[in-house]
């Protein structure tokens, strides 16, 4: 009886683990970085529930101004006063190539239950600096979210 070896040796399928681990670590680092960045600029506030302009957002705002329900102004995770806000906006204007205050990009995230008086004070300071447009963030209702 010929118990010779088969001409076609069976191949045991195997998974290359090393490149898969590299990819997984890259994904982890990506999500860690994006999650940390979002927490730094966006405070936990309940935004007004409106569908917004529903236009594609071309780029992120340069300066994010958060206003809490109690009227606190928070920028980059720090509570600031109106005078500090004015100084920060002036710094943003100075960093622009043409120093045109109308080109300052900023986003105001204000709690829906905050009194409008605080928002008025912030907007007045921005007006005094010559800022032309104030983008007000809204929370998109679930029924009207863009696909």
């Amino acid at each position: 009886m010929n118990f010779g070896r088969s001409k076609h040796p069976t191949r045991v399928p195997s998974v290359e683990l090393t490149p898969m681990i590299d990819v997984v670590f890259l994904l982890i680092i990506f999500f860690m970085a994006t999650a940390q960045f979002a927490r730094l600029t966006r405070a936990d506030v309940d935004l007004p529930i409106e569908k917004g302009e529903q236009q594609p957002i071309p780029e992120e705002a340069g300066l994010v101004i958060n206003i809490t329900r109690l009227g606190e102004i928070i920028i980059a995770n720090e509570t600031v006063s109106l005078d500090d806000l004015a100084d920060i906006v002036d710094d943003e204007i100075r960093q622009l190539p043409d120093r045109d205050p109308r080109r300052v990009k900023l986003l105001i995230r204000v709690d829906r239950l905050a009194a409008a008086g605080r928002l008025n004070e912030v907007v007045t300071r921005l007006q005094q600096r010559g800022v032309g447009v104030a983008r007000i963030a809204t929370e998109v209702p679930s029924a009207t979210r863009r696909r």
Binding site: A38, V123, G132, V133
Partner: protein, 119 residues
């Protein structure tokens, strides 16, 4: 180690997608110079006042009072959009209600929506 790696990956993926989707409204801000020029000319702006009436927030357009955004939007839709609209917001009104006025103006087709802080 691979199990720990996958757990970390799933954790950060879940925490990232929990952020609520946001959009924005972009009213223009009237500077002091623009206010002077507008007052000097024949321009009669269309003004929506966001105020408290009888303890409740309301939108006032001319002599009419509206309590909801859709009602205001319907009234604004009958106005000419080319001259724009000014939204004047007064202090004690909640921001959520005030922002509804901007949304109503956008829904009515206005491109020029100006935020005016009320005194």
């Amino acid at each position: 180690m691979i199990d720990v790696t996958f757990l970390l990956l799933i954790y950060f993926m879940v925490t990232t997608v929990l952020a609520k989707p946001e959009d924005r409204l972009s009213p223009t801000l009237q500077t002091q110079q623009q206010a002077t020029v507008d007052q000097a000319g024949d321009f009669q702006p269309q003004i929506v006042e966001v105020v408290l009436l009888d303890g409740q927030p309301a939108y006032r357009l001319g002599g009419s009072v509206f309590r909801t955004g859709p009602e205001l939007s319907e009234a604004l839709a009958a106005l000419p959009v080319s001259v724009g609209v000014f939204i004047k917001v007064f202090d004690p009104v909640p921001v959520g209600f005030a922002v509804g006025a901007f949304q109503a103006a956008r829904d009515a087709g206005f491109e020029q929506v100006t935020y005016v802080p009320g005194k």
